[in-house]
């Protein structure tokens, strides 16, 4: 999933300063799963904004809405009948949501309520970790099913480096050395010899280095 974290409420209040009618829009996709942008979080942020308004003796009308997804235009369309009632929209979806809303409703002020962090998963309740860098050319099958692009601090294709120490990365004792895990897993599977083959430098053309990305699947295009 796309993992995000809530922006500090203080920052959000600064963004919407001067506006009296606000709509908080959540998303039932990834941000619901990582407990930052679903219906529950919409209600919490809306409540906090109302309390802040009350504290400063300002009447702020705060609407709440949670869309199925904010990364599909048909769901963004559902805002059509209500959006005119508000001076500003706070989207607490990942970075895609506020941009889709902004593109569909160019006259409306749109604010991001979360910071999008990474593509990852929940390793424990309340703890998420990065697993994918979205490089556009998956190579995890060479490395025991683990991604050195996303999980090695240097994105090494041939590791580990000299900074690997007792299974930890030199950047922090909190960070696992993924190359330590890769080597141990390949040993356990009797495939260590596969790591002796030097992997050539990775082409980053499919990653962000190739500029903004777009994908077209002709069989789906109407």
């Amino acid at each position: 999933m796309i993992v995000a974290e809530a922006k500090p409420i203080k920052e959000i209040l600064e963004m919407i300063d001067g506006l009296n009618r606000i709509l908080v829009v959540g998303c039932k996709g990834c941000v619901t799963v990582c407990n930052v942008g679903g219906a529950k979080e919409v209600a919490i942020l809306a409540s906090a904004i109302r309390i802040a308004g009350k504290r400063h003796h300002k009447e702020i009308e705060v609407g709440e809405m949670t869309l199925e997804r904010q990364c599909d235009p048909e769901y963004i369309e559902e805002l059509k009948d209500v959006i005119g009632d508000y001076e500003g929209i706070i989207s607490i979806a990942c970075g895609v949501g506020p941009q889709f809303i902004s593109e569909r409703y160019p006259e409306v002020k749109v604010f991001p309520g979360v910071n999008t962090r990474f593509i990852g998963g929940a390793v424990e309740h309340g703890i998420w970790a990065e697993r994918c860098a979205g490089c556009g050319q998956c190579v995890i099958h060479y490395f025991g099913g683990m991604c050195p692009i996303a999980r090695c601090s240097k994105s090494l294709m041939n590791g580990p480096c000299g900074g690997s120490n007792k299974g930890k990365c030199e950047i922090s004792p909190e960070v696992d050395c993924i190359w330590d895990k890769i080597v141990r897993k390949m040993m356990a599977q009797g495939r260590l010899d596969e790591l002796l083959e030097i992997k050539p430098p990775k082409s980053w053309l499919t990653a962000r280095d190739g500029g903004p990305r777009k994908m077209v699947r002709e069989e789906l295009v109407k």
């Binding site: 500090p8 409420i9 919490i44 409540s47 906090a48 109302r50 309390i51 009350k54 504290r55």
Partner: protein, 133 residues
């Protein structure tokens, strides 16, 4: 400020805190009238939104009374709540509301006097702080 009658919401669990309330009642101890008490099965049921809503409705303070950390009937209810209260304190601070307006207490089932003392303590704190809105 002398006429200030604080609006305070007190949540208390059905186990230790409830027993303490019963003891207080049997001891004929008087509960301050400024507080609206709400009984809940376990403090772990209270979510962030439940703790914010009273403020949205104009409460000057919210406090919660639950079990001791090692004797929650549902194992970790009070521990979960304490983390949520810390989170709510941070939210309140960011919107300019004193974090002391929300507190959580662990009670012993047999200590009726504590149930009343905590209520009086909260009233004093709120009177010092003044109205929230």
């Amino acid at each position: 400020m002398q006429d200030f009658k604080p609006k305070i919401i007190g949540f208390y669990c059905s186990n230790c805190a409830s027993s303490a309330a019963n003891i207080a009642s049997k001891m004929k101890l008087e509960m301050p009238t400024d507080i609206k008490l709400i009984n809940i099965p376990c403090t772990g049921r209270l979510e962030v939104l439940h703790l914010l809503k009273p403020f949205e409705q104009g409460a000057d303070a919210v406090y919660i009374m639950g079990c001791q950390e090692d004797s929650c009937q549902y194992m970790s209810g009070i521990l979960k709540l304490k983390k949520r209260v810390e989170h709510v304190k941070k939210i309140l601070e960011q919107i300019g509301i004193e974090p002391q307006r929300i507190e959580v207490f662990s009670l012993y089932a047999g200590k009726g006097q504590d149930f009343i003392n905590i209520a009086n303590g909260i009233i004093n704190t709120v009177k010092e702080l003044g109205p929230a809105f």
